[in-house]
Amino acid sequence: MTTLTRGAGRVTRSAPRPRSAPRPALLILAGPFAILFLAVYVVPLVYAMQRSLFQVRSSGLGFGPSEDVFVGFANYASVLADAAFWAAVGRVFLYGVIQIPVMLVLAMLIALLIDSRAVWRPTVFRLTTFLPYAVPGIVATLLWTYLYVPQLSPIVKGLHAIGWQVDLLGQQTVLLSVANIAIWSWTGYNVVIYTAALQAIPQDLVEAARIDGASEAGIAVRIKVPLIRGSVGLTALLSMIGTVQLFNEPYILKTVTTAVSSDWTPMMMALNTTFGANDFERGSAISIVIALIAGVLAVIYQLASTRSERSA
């Protein structure tokens, strides 16, 4: 039998189902997936891991044939000892600390508004907030680039006209400009997750609170938000993983500002090392370190969330 955990819309199994032989239908459905998963995910991953243990070395002037040397974890050691790598990780961490809370709080406010039926035509409202998410990330960034570049931007020109000399692409501001693009793109997506979770809250709970005289704001803060804690955790985790993999926005902004270097985020560094410097081996090592960091974050989150669920 199954039980619904509180509000999160997540299903936990209280007793394992009796085992039975896999059915043919299951094989037909899962087979192609397994093959594709192996071919496009596991094989490249294993290959990247293998390459990360090698280095291609030339000798003399370097124009002769080169040698593939097994170097163990030397590539990893050089990545972990690289100040530029940690600078990129630190930058992305700072970005996450700013971007994730702002985005999630904003998404929560919008979701609660929609759920409270305080807004006129919630469907239209929900669709409008979701719309930026439908714009491909690259296009969204190009759009914002236009709004950031001083020579083109009506916003910057307007701000200058009222005497505010702001440079949205400067060393100090570009991180916030990148965060702004991500917030714009992803808030609606989180709103959808939250509204779905809010709709799963049993209406009798809300009704009961209303009869007891709770205000709409009180209901939102004291009843609804705690009940969708699971979804909040989920979106936080996804945002964290997305942050580690930050790439599109800074990669495009790099073409219009010198404040974004070619190794501004760990992902950009991986790309630049692999293709710019033609060092596939070190690039593989960087990619795997990034994957490990994302994995560790996911595990920490899992442990923290199970603990808090248990104590709740």
Binding site: Q245, T258, A270, T274
Partner: protein
């Protein structure tokens, strides 16, 4: 959730795919004795390449050229070339910017065609072979040289009472005059996103940063003469006399069109780009040699420049080089591709639009004279790794996070380290 992950996965997949492709690379097959027409695959991102291939194919039934467009920056193209090579999909000949040629050679992407190009040697300006010849091995033929010149608004300088500067001292004084008499206007600028311009400014005054001594590369970036050049531009920057916009985004031409910057020190290819992209002052622009250091001899420097290189695995190198010779030594073809020829030509055609823009000045003839004064230069085998460091460093120079002198020290170390890491023998000077 998956979508966010998917987004990032696309980037990882690209890396993974390339890595996967790398595993599929095969050695070159021994080619059979040539019989009948052969097909040469040619990568070129320059406009007009298709027409040239069609013209060649019509005239040479035995050697058919298959042109593929190679879009993106030169660095992108170099990366694509090595990836394609690992995937076994590389062309036979490709156009490449000179700075990336030694990197490609060390990556094993190039084919030694010393014997095949020997007969063409005399058709080119001697100096230009430096770009494709290393340690006695030739990897292709030179195409464009990019001699550096000064492009300027003659009318505005006259208005401000400035004589066209012929030395760097005069250039500095002129920069000050411009700033005083026309606030908000700069005499010249420097690309805050591109170290390429600075390399050429250094090349005018310094020995080449890289060289080959016996069986070892020599790295000599942080030297006295280059420091002089660094200090000169640092002074201009610190006194607010330098326009530091990005070189490769529309702000650059915007500044020129609106008269915020009055002169550009750049390669010969700059002439066409200015004529095509600048709207202000058409007819009032002019070309002159870049200022000199000691006031005596005029010296220019290579800025960019490109070559046609032979790619490893090419089965018909002789035919490929014959085609390469054609596209680099035929005056109309070379000019049609927008480069300034490395070949010694009896006459160099003018492009009317450019001549009109430069007030009737015979731009190509002027540059042909400048081309004879170009200083020697050799690029390094790990320049592809240094280029981003250099470009990022120029951003730091703009934002006052570092000086050009500090950047030179950093580049010297980066070059020695990257060559050592690649297993290339390197000597520091």
């Amino acid at each position: 959730m998956t979508i966010r992950i998917k987004r990032a996965a696309t980037a990882t997949a690209a890396v993974a795919a390339a890595v996967l492709l790398a595993s599929c690379s095969t050695g070159t097959d021994e080619s059979p004795v040539d019989e009948g027409p052969v097909t040469i695959a040619w990568w070129s991102g320059l406009a007009g390449s298709d027409d040239i291939a069609a013209q060649w194919n019509a005239e040479h039934p035995d050697i058919q050229v298959e042109h593929s467009d190679a879009p993106g920056s030169w660095q992108d193209q170099a990366a694509k070339l090595t990836a394609a090579l690992k995937a076994g999909e590389a062309p036979c000949v490709a156009m490449m910017e000179n700075p990336f040629i030694p990197s490609l050679a060390v990556a094993g992407a190039l084919l030694d065609v010393t014997d095949e190009v020997a007969e063409f040697q005399g058709d080119y300006i001697e100096r230009t072979w430096d770009a494709v010849t290393f340690g006695g091995q030739a990897f292709g033929v030179p195409q464009g040289t990019g001699p550096m010149a000064m492009f300027y608004r003659a009318d505005r300088l006259e208005e401000l009472g400035i004589d066209v500067p012929t030395t760097w001292d005069e250039f500095y004084e002129a920069s000050k005059t411009v700033a005083e008499k026309a606030p908000g206007t700069y005499l010249t600028g420097m690309g805050a996103d591109d170290g390429g311009g600075f390399v050429s400014l250094a090349a005018q005054h310094s020995d080449p940063w890289f060289g080959i001594d016996g069986d070892s590369w020599v790295v000599d970036i942080d030297n006295e003469a280059t420091r002089d050049v660094a200090d000169y531009w640092q002074k201009l920057r610190d006194e607010g006399l330098l326009n530091l916009t990005n070189r490769w985004d529309p702000t650059f031409y915007n500044d020129l069109s609106e008269g915020r910057q009055l002169a550009v020190i750049g390669g010969s290819w700059q002439a066409d780009l200015i004529a095509d992209n600048v709207t202000g002052g058409a007819g009032s622009w002019a070309v002159a040699p870049m200022p000199s250091w000691d006031g005596g001899q005029q010296v220019s420097a290579p800025n960019g420049g490109s070559s046609v290189i032979a790619i490893a695995g090419c089965e018909h190198p002789a035919q490929a080089m014959e085609f390469a010779h054609f596209i680099t030594s035929d005056a109309d073809t070379t000019i049609a591709l927008g480069g300034f020829p490395a070949a010694t030509l009896d006459s160099i055609p003018e492009r009317d639009a450019t001549v009109d823009f430069f007030g009737g000045q015979q731009v190509n003839q002027e540059i042909a004279r400048i081309a004879e004064t170009v200083a020697p230069w050799t690029w390094s085998p790990t320049w592809n790794e240094t280029k981003p460091v250099f470009d990022d460093g120029m951003g730091g120079f703009k934002d006052q996070n570092g000086t050009l002198r500090e950047l030179l020290t950093k580049l010297q170390k980066q070059q020695v380290d990257s060559m050592t890491a690649a297993g290339v023998s390197v000597t520091e000077k």
